[in-house]
Symmetry: C2
Subunit: 157 residues, 2 copies
C-alpha cells in the first residue's frame, strides 16, 4: 500500500471529521433557534436533561462563569424548559431540573436527525459498528489529550 494513498486517506478523514462535526453544530443551532433559545442554553439543557444539576456544576461543565449561568437558567426558566429548585441538603445551592412539558417540544426536533442516524447505521454489522465506536472514542480521547497538551504548552511560557 502506497503511503501517498494513506496520506490522502488521513486528509480525507480529517476533513470528514470536521465537516461532520460542523453539520452537528449547525443542527444544534437550528434546534435552539426553533425552541427560541440560544445554542448555549441548549447545551446547558442537555446537561440538565440527564438529571437535576447545581448551577455551579453547569458553569464548570460548560466553562461559563456563574454569572452567565444565571442568565442561561433565567432564559430556560422563562421559556418553560427548566425550573430552579432549592437543594434541601444545602440551601446555598440551586438545583436546576428539566420540565417534562419542555421536553416534549424538544423530542420531535431531534427526530429527523435520529431517523437519519438510524438509516445510516442499519447497514453496518455489529462488528463494524464496534470498530466505528472505538474509532470515535479514540478521536475523542485523542482530542482531549491534544487540548491538554496545547494548554500545558501555553502555561509553560
Amino acid at each position: 500500500m502506497s503511503s501517498r494513498k494513506r496520506d490522502e486517506l488521513y486528509a480525507a478523514l480529517n476533513a470528514a471529521m470536521r465537516e461532520t462535526s460542523g453539520q452537528g453544530v449547525l443542527y444544534s443551532q437550528a434546534v435552539a433557534a426553533r425552541l427560541g433559545i440560544h445554542s448555549t442554553d441548549l447545551e446547558c439543557l442537555d446537561w440538565i436533561l440527564r438529571g437535576p444539576v447545581a448551577a455551579g456544576a453547569l458553569a464548570e461543565a460548560t466553562g461559563l462563569t456563574t454569572g452567565a449561568i444565571t442568565g442561561v437558567i433565567d432564559r430556560l426558566e422563562k421559556a418553560g424548559f427548566a425550573t430552579r429548585e432549592p437543594d434541601p441538603n444545602d440551601r446555598r445551592k440551586v438545583m436546576v431540573r428539566a420540565l417534562p412539558a419542555g421536553l416534549k417540544q424538544i423530542g420531535p426536533l431531534f427526530a429527523p436527525m435520529e431517523r437519519s442516524a438510524m438509516a445510516s447505521l442499519a447497514k453496518y454489522s455489529e462488528k463494524e459498528l464496534l470498530l466505528i465506536l472505538d474509532f470515535l472514542h479514540q478521536a475523542r480521547d485523542g482530542a482531549a489529550a491534544a487540548l491538554a497538551e496545547l494548554q500545558a504548552k501555553a502555561k509553560r511560557r
Copy 2:
C-alpha cells in the same frame, strides 16, 4: 444478535459522535484563544486559507451578516492573519487573502491534534479506514438532510 444490544450500540455511537464533536469545538476555541482571536474569526480564517475569498462569500459560508464579516476581517487584519485586496475584475468586491506570516503561527497550534490523530489512525488497515470514512460521510450527509427537513418543517407552519 439481540436488538437490545444493537440499540445500546446506537446510543453509544450517538453519544460518542457528540462527545467527539464537542472536543473538536473545544480544541478550536483553545487555538483561537491562543491566537488572540475568536472562534468565529478562526472559522473564517479556515475558509480564507483555502484561497482568497470575497467578503460576501465568507458571509454566506458562515451564515453571518456582511456587517459582522466586516468586523471579522478587521480583527484578522489587525492580528496579521489576512489582508484585504481589491478585486481587479469587480471593484466593489474585497478579496481576503491569508498572510504567510500568520499561517506560521497557526500550524504549531494544530500539531498536537494532528499527532494524536495520526497515532489513532495508524493501527487501522486501509479497508477499515475506508469504512470509517464512509460512515463519516454518511453521518455528514444525513445531518445535512435532517437539517433541511427540520427547516422545511419550520416553514410549512
